[in-house]
């Protein structure tokens, strides 16, 4: 395979760490190709995994758009102005296609069409960011850059590089998209926006969002590809003032647990692929206990 051709699938790439893999190619869901999203679904049940695989992309939610803008602001600040534009208060409502195609549009409609056409030209394909989001983004970016450690982590590396490898134990093709990879230091840095960046608060996020499994997945990439990974660091930045920043590295126990969970779900996927069966929850009546906090309410 020649990588100079336009690849349309992760399968078109050789094992290694690649830069410039288009986002739509990386995010394409493919049966048997494992990334953190697939592991998250497999942890529920194989039936969830198949449903996720078959589903259309959820599209851009405000949260996703904000997350992407934050990553751009911190990881690739030089691209931010070329990608985003500050939204403004528009004097006209958006013009529907029906109004655009009206045979005898009113002067008001013509003014609105002229305004929106001019705005589209000014935008030049950029993405609008609301005034409130822009303030938050600026605050979070400034807080990360001002942090004595976090501010220095996002230098000398590459944003959004993609690792592709075959897991040696499970013989499954794997992929991972790293927020920021500094090869010269052997560091992978993941930027997370959070409500609570404290050690205890972020530890809960690690457990809830399975960041330890993500960690295990990335560590597997580096081991399989023979690259050094000295540390996988999380830069957690809070979403509200003072946009407090904290840098975390999970401990060996958490790392081992992440590997255990990943290993379990990889084995589960292999078994499902071999038998082409995708079970949901165990068909039995489950006794349900309330969580401890609910008992003390």
């Amino acid at each position: 395979m020649n990588t100079l051709l336009q690849p349309s699938s992760i399968l078109d790439y050789a094992p290694g760490i690649h830069e410039g893999v288009p986002a739509e190619v990386y995010h394409r869901k493919e049966l048997g190709v494992v990334n953190c999203g697939a592991l998250k679904e497999l942890a529920k049940t194989p039936a969830h995994y198949r449903a996720w695989l078959a589903s259309e992309d959820d599209g851009d939610t405000p949260a996703k758009l904000f997350g992407r803008a934050l990553h751009c602001a911190v990881l690739e600040p030089e691209l931010f102005e070329a990608t985003y534009i500050l939204a403004r208060e528009h004097p006209f409502s958006r013009v529907s296609d029906r109004l655009r195609n009206a045979k005898k549009p009113s002067q008001g409609t013509l003014d609105a069409i002229a305004y929106w056409d001019a705005w589209e030209v000014e935008m030049g394909g950029k993405i609008e960011v609301s005034h409130d989001d822009a303030i938050t983004l600026h605050g979070m970016q400034a807080a990360v850059f001002a942090h004595p450690i976090a501010g220095k982590l996002f230098t000398g590396g590459v944003a959004e590089s993609t690792a592709i490898w075959t897991d040696p134990e499970h013989a499954l093709l794997c992929k991972a998209r790293m927020d920021y990879y500094v090869a010269s230091r052997g560091l992978v840095i993941d930027l997370k926006s959070t409500e609570d960046a404290s050690e205890s608060g972020f530890a809960r996020s690690v457990a809830t969002y399975r960041y330890h499994v993500q960690h295990a997945h990335y560590a597997s990439a580096f081991q399989s590809l023979g690259h050094e990974l000295r540390a996988f660091l999380f830069v957690a930045v809070e979403k509200t003032p003072p946009y407090a920043v904290n840098v975390h590295c999970i401990d060996a126990d958490a790392e081992a647990r992440g590997m255990e969970l990943r290993d379990r779900d990889m084995a589960k996927l292999n078994q499902c692929l071999q038998t082409d069966t995708w079970p949901g929850y165990e068909p039995t009546i489950h006794t349900l206990s309330l969580p401890r906090w609910a008992m003390n309410d």
């Binding site: 410039g20 850059f145 501010g151 999970i250």
Partner: protein, 284 residues
């Protein structure tokens, strides 16, 4: 150790006696419904029946057994404090005591053994010494979450008590290990050292990374010169160009391309493009 008054004595052959077994089962069902019994016994009549059997054999209260018999890695295991209490209460020995050598539990020469006097003969019964060499050789220290790292003094005493009772009063523990022993003896999680990042294996790595970063520029600062950042090796554009062009295999190519990120941004694109061209040679 007081036996409960309403204990159903399950003796060998009782299973054939439908009445006694049914009675025991009803009692076990009642225990299993109780919120006072630990999780391993709740809604698990079979576990409760086993605990009742053990309680009868050692002459202990059933609820006490359930509250002190844990399931660790699938094995029934005593809590260490229960084992010591059982030995102290059995009446054959004076209460268990501990002999230590060395003042600092973290010193490599520190060791502990349990002892008690046989009341019938007055003979002093010494248990085996527990030493750091034994702790390390058995792999107890290297377990994930090992309490030997955080509570070494207590672990020395618990382990020496467990060993002592297995030698001098095996009927008390019935060969069941303590919960701490079961945790230490459980197979290690199947994680390869190579898959664990250096920072979590050796926490000193994080301090080292902090020191390295102390001299690095901030992400929002423009590089003052065209020199590579931080501690990256000082390769010239020409050297990296030659390394990519002459790469003998995929690994050599990857190593050469990795060096590009340390160059000024303006120099990078051409070298990455060259890397893609050379990569085609190895993947065809």
């Amino acid at each position: 150790m007081e036996n409960s008054t309403a204990v159903v004595q399950i003796k060998p052959g009782d299973q054939a006696d439908g009445g006694a077994f049914a009675l025991a089962q009803r009692k076990a069902s009642a225990y299993a419904q109780s919120t006072l019994v630990p999780k391993d016994y709740r809604d698990n009549v079979a576990n409760v029946l086993i605990a009742m059997e053990i309680a009868n054999r050692i002459g202990a209260n059933e609820l006490m057994v359930m509250q002190n018999l844990y399931i660790v890695q699938g094995r029934p295991s005593w809590s260490s404090s229960f084992l010591i209490a059982t030995v102290n209460a059995c009446g054959r020995f004076t209460p268990l005591r501990f002999e230590t050598q060395g003042a600092d539990p973290e010193d490599t020469n520190y060791r502990v053994r349990a002892y008690a006097d046989d009341k019938a003969t007055g003979e002093r019964c010494n248990g085996p010494w527990i030493t750091w060499a034994m702790v390390k050789a058995e792999g107890w220290l290297s377990k994930n979450g090992s309490k030997w790292k955080t509570l070494p003094e207590l672990m020395f005493m618990y382990r020496s008590a467990g060993f002592w009772s297995r030698v001098y009063a095996p009927e008390v523990s019935m060969g069941i290990h303590t919960a701490d022993e079961s945790e230490d003896m459980a197979p290690t999680r199947t994680t390869l050292v190579g898959t664990v990042t250096e920072a979590s294996r050796t926490p000193g790595t994080l301090r080292q990374i902090e020191q390295e970063l102390a001299g690095a520029p901030n992400a929002d600062e423009q590089p003052a010169t065209d020199e590579p950042a931080g501690d990256a090796p000082q390769f010239t554009v020409q050297e990296i160009h030659d390394a990519i062009s002459n790469a003998a295999n995929k690994q050599a190519l990857d190593e050469a391309v990795d060096l590009v990120s340390a160059l000024p941004k303006g120099e990078q694109k051409a070298l990455y493009d060259l890397g893609k061209v050379v990569a085609g040679k190895f993947s065809e």
